[in-house]
Amino acid sequence: MNDRYLGLVNTQIGSALASRVGLPRPAVLRRYQAGAPLLAGPVLLGSISGTAPPALAGLLAGAGADTRTTDAGDVAWAGLVLDATEVSAPDQLAGARTFLAGPLRRLMPCGRVLVLARPADGTDVTVDASRQALDGIVRSLAKELQRGATANLLLIEQGASLESGVRFFLSGKSAYIDGQSLRLGAGPAPPPTDWNRPLAGKTALVTGAARGIGAAIAGVLARDGARVVLADLPQAGEALVKVANRIGATTLHLDVAAPDAPERLLTYLAAHTDGLDVLIHNAGITRDKLLVNMAAEQWDSVLAVNLISQLRINAALLGGEQLRAQARVVCLSSTTGLAGNRGQTNYGATKAGVIGLVRSAAREFTAHADSTINAVAPGFIDTEMTARMPMATREVARRLSSLQQAGLPVDVAEAVGWLSSSGAGGVNGQVLRVCGQNLVGA
């Protein structure tokens, strides 16, 4: 579904008009393209105390970024990276203003502001208050940024590997992630041999892969080098074949809600693969009704497909032989699971349930040879499903985020792809929102 308004507002006349009458001016987002540099221009690196940390400078330089540590005053910045890990008292927070205020005026379209901090850990009230304050800074700043620029916060535990996360949040892969904070833990996060094919040699399975977000996820995983198995209902087989033959994947007709689905999945993996490295629980359905009008079948089918299937398949994989070491599981949640949505008590139950699932299962997956499980919560994404919404409702919904536009399936897919990579091993039991800082659900 084309966003006509976004196209119009990015013409010369449209831009002038929108500016004059105060209409939203969404930008065409910078999205990842294989071989393109990490950032479209130089990145300014600083810290809360003033001196740029050398390790971070080395990391950025290693990623091919034109890294600078002083603001010459006339440079247009593609990225601003602030190391705020030293923050331990409220008066230090002024350092954030000192570092950001000047260069922010020269932030390029689709620029990146990335703040690195320590998570509040409950040991000292002043320290925790100061650390939490950074969350407010980043969320507010994300709402101030214009022209497709984003601001995000990485909460870094002791011993966490930064490289993969910093690259992801600076790159076009995080185009539609805005105003978010994500915790990086100390789990093993080996960098890939080839950053352009981070999933080379891995076997991945995507459920609900015949269309929309599932098909986009499959495409990104295949692009990143994975051998991808596409699962969907037998009835979706025709569309599934087209996706598989476009990206070079294999198809598996599987109803994830069927009683024997976990067993069939394990049997298939044993026969056709050397084990599973990446599992994406994407299959989902909606049966929207106000709770007072909802039939038992509408309730049960949504629960069965969106939540119960994930629980059962995870249990089977953890109890079986087919899940490999340092495996990655990503479950599709939704902003509905965080904020709720009228007419979606059943759907909201499953999408919130998925968040509970990943938080609770994280430890169990760590125990499975440092595997991880995370959730991605998409906001308003342009798909066949949203294309069926009434035009006015859709147009309003598209603008209700800091980026003033709907995301694309590929935006969700890039987040899933990153969480599926070895380098994201520090992220576990987390929920990553891909919503353009949607105004709904904090």
Binding site: R227, P234, Q235, A236, G237, E238, L240, V241, A244, N245, G248, A249, T250, T251, L252, H253, L254, D255, A258, D260, R264, A271, H272, T273, D274
Partner: protein, 427 residues
């Protein structure tokens, strides 16, 4: 030179549609290309160069002289994959499996696809034979005068097109009429035929319900299951139908216990065990042996040489060569051209006098346990796009044998022209 057994890796078919149904506007090439693409997707064969693709169609347009190769070029297989067409009426599909399996057995191929496709909707309508003669004569003329003279032979009646029918050129009788004779000669009752038809529908429906076809069928043009399938078929419902073949009181064959005209395509992936292992693809079963046969249905005995009785003769030869008896199989797939075809075939094998006189045996070939017959349904329920039936049966039987944890399966398919094709699979 050593000989090895070809492995059946799996198959893909599209749901079979009734004539002029959902596939009315799909050509053989459309259906075949989609079916090959589904096979490619299932087994991850994108851009793979396979040894050969061998497929056939019974009803074929003259422009489709290279049907299979054209379908390969339109598919996601490597364009470096050679392909050719084979045609043996309803035996086509199984014959292509035999051809590919034999080449693999001899080491000439490591991998190949066999199959068949047919449409009775998008049928090749030809011009009247007399008009064709006139037009060819005009083409041969060297002068304008000669051409005009030739064209003056055009008559209005010649403008009626020639529509293909399933009647036998040498007898002018349709296949159903031929089978009606056989049915009568062997005394096959209406009730027995209807019973077999109901079993076919119930078995096919049950197979769909338990997901048996999940890795054998890919939907096409919105059709997700065989259109002809009637899960609620019953003896009472079938008993209401009027007879369509045979005459008077003795007629027993109805639309319910005969296969409908259908559209569809089926493919089977065959390979050497080595190729399968290299591609991390499990083997379902192996092709053991095959035998073809034919009867003189034009001049022969009304009872012994019926048009669709040829498989009766193939089997004893096949069994003898493999030192097997009729009871040595776990599954029997006897193509249900008509319910009475299957029943007449079984009756012949169980008839001691017939087997002594016509098959050169010392007694009856034997009988089979009916619970092992067409366990996942057959053509009466699924439909029968002529050339596609062999591929449907081979892939399904191979999967069933594999699911059983091993065993031996027998396939018997009758074909127009008084022909029969039989094969043995083993898992």
């Amino acid at each position: 030179m050593s000989v090895r057994r070809a492995a059946v890796i799996g198959g893909n078919r599209i749901p079979f549609a009734r004539s002029n149904g959902p596939y009315a506007r799909a050509s053989n090439q459309d259906m075949l290309t989609a079916t090959i693409d589904g096979l490619v997707a299932r087994f991850g064969l994108q851009d793979e160069r396979l040894g050969e693709v061998v497929v056939g169609a019974v009803l074929k347009h003259s422009r489709d002289f290279n049907l299979t190769r054209e379908a390969v070029l339109g598919s996601k297989l490597s364009p470096d994959t050679p392909a050719y067409d084979v045609q043996q009426a309803c035996g086509t599909g199984l014959e292509t499996v035999i051809v590919v399996a034999n080449k693999i057995a001899l080491g000439q191929l490591e991998s190949g696809v066999a199959g068949g496709v047919d449409t009775t909707s998008d049928a090749p309508i030809a011009i009247h034979e007399d008009l064709r003669a006139v037009l060819l004569e005009a083409r041969r003329a060297t002068s304008i005068g000669g051409r005009l003279k030739a064209l003056s032979g055009v008559r209005p009646r010649q403008l009626v097109p020639a529509v293909p029918s399933n009647s036998e050129p040498r007898t002018g009788m349709s296949m159903g009429e031929h089978q009606a004779v056989t049915t009568l000669e062997w005394g096959i009752s209406r009730a027995a035929q209807d019973e077999l038809a109901v079993a076919s529908h119930h078995n096919l429906a049950a197979a769909y319900e338990r997901g048996f076809f999940d890795d054998l069928v890919t939907p096409f043009l919105g059709l997700t299951r065989d259109q002809n399938l009637r899960p609620d078929s019953s003896l009472d419902k079938l008993a209401e139908l009027t007879t369509v073949f045979g005459r008077g009181e003795s007629a027993t064959m109805t639309a319910g216990n005969s296969t409908p005209l259908s559209d569809g395509a089926a493919t089977v992936l065959l390979a050497s065990d080595e190729w399968a292992a290299e591609h991390r693809l499990p083997v379902l079963a192996h092709v053991v042996d095959a035998e073809t046969s034919a009867v003189d249905y034009v001049h022969g005995d009304r009872k012994a040489d019926g048009l669709l009785m040829a498989p009766v003769y193939a089997l004893p030869r096949l069994l003898a060569r493999n030192k097997l008896s009729l009871g040595d199989f776990d599954c029997y797939e006897i193509h249900e051209a008509f319910a009475s075809t299957v029943l007449a075939t079984l009756a012949a094998w169980a008839d001691g006098a017939f087997c002594r006189q016509h098959l050169g045996l010392t007694g009856a070939l034997g009988s089979i346990e009916r619970t092992k017959l067409n366990v996942n349904g057959s053509s009466l329920a699924a439909g029968h796009p002529f050339a596609a039936t062999g591929g449907r049966i081979v892939a399904g039987l191979a999967k069933q044998l594999c699911q059983n944890g091993g065993g031996r399966g027998l396939i018997s398919i009758c074909a127009a022209g008084g022909q029969g094709v039989a094969a043995i699979l083993e898992a």
